[in-house]
Each structure stands twice: as C-alpha cells, then as structure tokens.
Symmetry: C2
Subunit: 140 residues, 2 copies
Amino acid sequence: MATATAAEKKADEKARYNAFLSVCPSQRLLAQVAGKWVTLVMSALGSGPECDGDPRPMRYSELGRVLAGVSPKMLSQTLRSLERDGLITRTATATVPVTVTYELTELGLSLHTTVRQLKEWSEAHRDEVTAHQDQFDAAR
Amino acid sequence: MATATAAEKKADEKARYNAFLSVCPSQRLLAQVAGKWVTLVMSALGSGPECDGDPRPMRYSELGRVLAGVSPKMLSQTLRSLERDGLITRTATATVPVTVTYELTELGLSLHTTVRQLKEWSEAHRDEVTAHQDQFDAAR
DNA sequence: GGAAGTAGTTACCTTAAAGTGCGTAGATAC
DNA sequence: GTATCTACGCACTTTAAGGTAACTACTTCC
C-alpha cells in the first residue's frame, strides 16, 4: 500500500538517522575520547608524568603508577585502542625483562591539544556552571 | 603497625586518585558532553535544524523531529541537564496548546564552538584514523 | 625457593546509561 | 465522544563500559 502513514515515515527516518549516527565520525571520536582513561593516558604521554612539561614516551608500568587507579586490564585496553587509531605507538625492547614504551604520534599530539581546549573551557567556566546548577536545584 | 606495605601505599594512592577524578571538572564535562544526544541538541540549537545557518530557538517537538531517533524521555532528560548547567534556557509560552522553546545561552554557544573544534579535528583526520585501523586490524 | 618486577590475558560481576512502552493533562477539531 | 496535539513522567528492560580478581611466563634478587 502506498498509504505511507505518519508512523511509518517516522520509523523510516529514525532508522536512517540512527544508521548515520552509528558511523558519524565526530560522534565516534567523542565516545572514544570520553573513555575513562583515554584522556588521562594521553595527558600523561603528552605532558609528562606530572602533567606539566613536554611529551615523552612512557613505559607500561610507569603509566600504571602515574594513573594510580587504573587496572592492568583497562590500561592495556585503552592503550590498544589508542594504538589502533594511530594516536600512540607501542615499542617493545628486548631488555632483560622486556620493556614496552608508548609514545604519542603526531596525530595523537594534535588531538591532545584539541582536547586540551575543552579542558580549558571547563576550567574557565566551571564556577559559572556550578552556580547555574545550584540555582536550578534551589528553584524546585 | 607502621609497616606500610607497598600494597597499602598503592591502595591509598588509588583512593586519593579516584576521589580526585570523581570531582575533576574536565572529566565531568567530557562525560556530560559525550552523552548520546547532548552534542546533537546543541548542534541543532547552535546551527539551525539543518546544521548550517545561525543559532535559533527551537521547540520541543521540532527538536524531536530533527533528531529523528530520540525518544521523548531522552530528549527531555538531555534538555533538563543542559538547562541545569546553564547552557540552554527553557521558555514556556501559554499559547493554545502550551509551546516550549529552548535556546542556547551565551555559555552554551561558547561550549558549542569549542566542541565544534573537536568535530573539525575528527573530520580532518578521519581518513588517517581509519587507515591506521585497517592497517592495525590487518596486521594481526 | 619465594618474592617481586616485567607486560599483560581471561573470566566474571556490577552498575549506570540508554531504549521501550504506556500514561497524563488540558484543549480543540471532527 | 473519539482522536490529536502539546510536552512531558514513570516503570521496566537491555546493553555495554568499567571494575575485580586470579593467572601466565620469564628473570633476577635475597
């Protein structure tokens, strides 16, 4: 039947919209970067263990120590996904106990600086936001 | 016992680190903004229904139509949290059936432009990233 | 010979975000 | 008098992210 009801049309639109969303590159990037340890790992690799200073390579166990709350599972999971995206490089060295170092690529560094702007926004406006929240919560 | 074992020290560090993380403003912002519909609502309000053009207020049902996949629940949930943060304003008008319009505040607009940079990054580098992913997946 | 350090993997469990479906309230149109 | 439009609210279910804990394999230190 050619009687495309409003409900049918909407379901159709919805399907196409969701299909678009699932491949939308910016949406996927955001979901990736918002992973709990992603920015922390990038921040550590991008600004040294104390989050000041210059980018430098770090070892697996060093990252584990700096990011005190991370489990080995989450650390390797995060590192592998970042490596898959070409944001960091993994280098294994055949020393006495094998050592593995991770380093930001140029691509990773450029993303890091972009994300940093978001961080700066949040630091610049956090007071404003919390003020709004308090006001909103008090109002009801 | 004063014998602070390495395990105890690590647990202590971890607790403090997690406490810090849970209040870290940038982390919280990122988690907020990464909500599935947050950026889409902001994008619609910030660039018109077609994601081009200028910021303009929109109605609840209009947003629901533009973001075809969103359920009424998620839409109002998203809108309320954005309103709570002072990023949008809600205005109810006592027309025949009540109409409610939402509009980006200045604060919301400034966040929108910041997030837009992330979007531009992802669009500029998406090919590079997918190339890395293919290479990585092929390697194993 | 047992602990500790190297870099992880595997299986299981918890929880919070998102999706689904139905109800509501007042008013108007048919 | 039934249906539709407005803007939601509530309860239930699903799903995926993250956390916990235990185990691997090799080596050196004490």
